[in-house]
């Protein structure tokens, strides 16, 4: 077994980058900070790709059967509370963790290179790269962590980096509000995550993931039945798993905790590409995959995962059809695709989900980076201001088209393969969810090409040609290559929950329906948006009620605002503040006032008058005399 000890360097190098840039970047290294940050992530990416090569393809690599038993590398005992319960820092080597470090570091590198050109001239350039380094460290640490609590620590760190990066333009009130909203919603979900961790670790008496999974799925143990510890008719382990899923749903913007993701588009576009498309938002999916054996053993919770994923996918796709801000469309598209990954896991399609995660990272990051280039050219996010850009930005046009074809699931692009696997798994598990997935893939093609045609066609070509920077074009090309060819990687031979390679070919007759629906969606989009016309407006007014409902994102945000402002603030927040100000502070003030009064009363004893002193002196002597003569003898 080859030595993977260098894996520890992969997250630690960006951390070093963060520390150096954070401390010295602003003063001394302003212009080189981009290069330093990129160089550090470049080394990390190299190490990660080398590790992936060693693990999957190299000599002495672990065979497929062994790969389903992850092994723990580098364990450091950190906080031992008791012999069973100790928080260790350990790195777990397992197919999905190796794949994730490769994906995360590669996309991170692309974003770092892209930002060299995109964020040039920013005043806080060094801070930006410092935060990116912090994020890379947190995400890489999260996917490598082998202890459940360590996962939680990195989870929170990722949330913190996201907050810092969304609020990067801190002088914009919308950005600040968006950062707060993201942090608060995910923090609220993380409460569920924490309680879930505590329940699961209590039941299994360990926090180490591998041991935990082993103990809870011992045959004959039946922990998931209610004959074991249970509460309100559901077993404790089921509660734990569903609470952990709530945490994952918050981070992955599943319904109904999705409200933060569209607002998070206030951050810089490369940040959206990295965090809110390719890496951080898939953390919830990764968490469920990490504990997949447990979820697989508990059908009740698995159903929750399945339906939440399906609802999110459909809801997001419907909303995306009406949005006009390019980044918001992409945000809802992300939510929809993560819904796919989630219901794939819910249908026990582990490989399918991970495959889609892999390909999605490429084409979604590509979409966002292209969007960044477009926004810089047009100086606006609104689709109505764009149009006819295909002659002025040829490279961006080509890459955007590749990405749209990939996400719509058109062969031979990568999205086709991963989506087919997901739909196959869904078909085997639950027919309703299969039809939802099928319909949503048609919608996906429709809204993506609506976006494509509105940007690059629709109006006659105009404007001067856009000069794209080299550092911006290199990542676009690399990601486009990935989006095209990643589908050919034989994932089913590389990873599996139980060691047996997956059966079934993608090119079966099942593949026809989604592709046909996708082509239909593309056709409708072309009809409506290729030429400038009033057909979209007529369609919208025809379904006016539903259109408005979807345009306002089904008023979910308003419901949340109502609950927080009217109910939580007024019923809980205000009384709590009143108690704090009047009762708690009042008690402290009372103690202080009483002390001051007593002291003012006592100070009269030191009057400075000799006769008073003589009196006190004599009184004391008389008292002592009485004491000693009559009481002590």
């Amino acid at each position: 077994m080859p030595n993977y000890a260098y894996i520890a360097l992969i997250p630690l190098l960006p951390l070093a980058g963060f520390v150096v840039l954070g401390l010295f970047g602003r003063r001394y290294l302003q212009r080189f900070s981009g290069v330093i940050g990129t160089a550090v992530v470049f080394v990390s990416t190299g190490l990660a790709l080398w590790a992936a090569y060693q693990y999957f393809f190299g000599t002495g690599s672990t065979s497929l059967a062994l790969r389903s038993h992850p092994f723990i590398m580098l364990k450091a005992n950190w906080l031992p509370f008791s012999p069973h319960l100790s928080i260790d820092l350990s790195a777990i080597i397992d197919p999905i963790s190796v794949m994730m470090i490769a994906v995360v570091s590669l996309v991170s590198l692309m974003v770092h290179i892209f930002s060299l050109g995109y964020m040039k001239g920013e005043e806080r350039f060094a801070t930006y790269y410092a935060f990116l380094g912090l994020f890379a460290f947190s995400m890489l640490g999260l996917v490598l962590s082998g202890n459940l609590f360590e996962t939680y620590i990195f989870w929170e760190l990722v949330g913190c980096s996201s907050f810092l990066l969304i609020g990067y333009y801190y002088d914009r009130p919308t950005a600040v509000a968006a950062a707060k909203k993201a942090f608060i919603v995910t923090r609220f979900a993380d409460l569920g995550f924490l309680i879930g961790i505590l329940i699961l670790s209590f039941q299994a008496e360990t926090l180490d993931i591998r041991t935990l999974v082993q103990r809870l799925t011992e045959p004959g143990l039946q922990l998931t039945s209610i004959t074991g510890a249970s509460f309100l008719g559901i077993s404790a382990v089921s509660w734990g798993l569903s609470l952990v899923f709530i945490g994952g749903a918050g981070k992955s913007a599943m319904f109904p905790l999705h409200i933060w993701l569209p607002d998070a588009m206030e951050g810089p576009t490369p940040v959206s590409a990295l965090i809110h498309a390719a890496t951080m938002v898939v953390a919830g999916v990764y968490l469920v995959a990490r504990l997949f054996v447990l979820y697989g053993a508990d059908p009740g919770v698995l159903h929750i995962v399945l339906y939440v994923g399906a609802i999110s996918a459909l809801l997001a796709a419907v909303i995306a059809c009406t949005q006009t801000d390019i980044k918001r469309v992409l945000a809802y598209s992300t939510m929809s695709q993560i819904g796919y990954m989630m219901f794939a896991l819910g249908s026990l399609g582990y490989t399918a989900s991970m495959f889609h995660l892999f390909t999605h990272a490429f084409f979604k990051a590509l979409l966002f980076l292209c969007a960044g280039v477009i926004i810089h050219q047009v100086h606006s996010n609104e689709m109505q201001r764009m149009g006819g850009l295909r002659k002025t930005m040829p490279l961006t046009h080509a890459c955007f088209l590749v990405a749209c074809l990939a996400i719509s699931g058109i062969p031979p692009f990568s999205g086709f393969f991963s989506k087919e696997e997901i739909l196959l798994a869904a078909y085997r598990a639950n027919k309703l969810v299969y039809f939802i997935g099928l319909f949503t893939s048609g919608l996906t093609a429709f809204y993506m090409f609506r976006l494509y045609f509105s940007i690059f066609w629709n109006k006659p070509p105009e404007g001067h040609p856009h000069k794209i920077l080299l550092v911006e074009s290199i990542p676009l090309v690399i990601l486009a290559l990935g989006a095209t060819f990643a589908g050919f990687i034989p994932f089913s031979r590389l990873m599996n929950p139980d060691g047996a390679p997956e059966v079934g070919s993608v090119f079966s007759s099942m593949a026809i329906a989604p592709v046909a629906l996708a082509l239909l969606g593309i056709g409708i989009a072309a009809y409506l948006y290729r030429k400038e016309s009033d057909r979209p407006a007529k369609l919208a007014s025809a379904a006016r009620g539903f259109y408005t409902f979807a345009y306002h994102k089904f008023y979910i945000d308003e419901v949340y605002l109502f609950v927080t402002k009217k109910i939580i603030f007024n019923l809980i927040g205000r009384p709590a503040a009143w108690i704090d100000r009047n009762i708690v502070d009042g008690l402290m003030n009372l103690i202080a006032t009483v002390t001051a009064r007593i002291s003012a009363g006592i100070k009269g004893f030191q009057s400075g008058k000799v006769q008073d002193y003589v009196l006190y002196f004599f009184a004391g002597i008389a008292g002592l005399a009485v004491l000693f003569i009559y009481i002590y003898t």
């Binding site: 030191q606 400075g608 009196l615």
Partner: protein
């Protein structure tokens, strides 16, 4: 003097002592305080002489104590008057409550 028991003399001196204490507490004038202190010292002298006479008739220790106390009382009265004069120069009054600057 053998008809008068020792305790009677002691009671007299105790009464004189406490009269002096009362004067020390109530009089506001520095010189009257000094007068009260002299009364106290004299009561102690009576005690010494009485003890010497009744309890140790063949020794003279009480006499010597009394002599020394008288001498010291004289010295102390002189120094006290000097201090009063100095205080009078500063506060223009020999009211003992005028010199109360060492207070809170």
């Amino acid at each position: 003097m053998s008809q008068v028991p020792l305790s009677h003399i002691l009671i007299v001196s105790t009464a004189l002592f406490f009269i002096g204490m009362y004067g020390l507490f109530t009089r506001r004038n520095m010189i009257t305080m000094l007068i009260s202190v002299e009364l106290i010292l004299n009561s102690v002298n009576i005690n010494f002489i009485a003890f010497n006479k009744y309890l140790y008739p063949d020794r003279l220790d009480g006499v010597f104590f009394t002599l020394f106390i008288i001498a010291i009382a004289a010295a102390e009265a002189a120094v006290a008057i000097a201090i009063f004069i100095n205080l009078y120069r500063n506060f223009h009054s020999i009211d003992v409550e005028a010199a109360d600057e060492l207070k809170f």
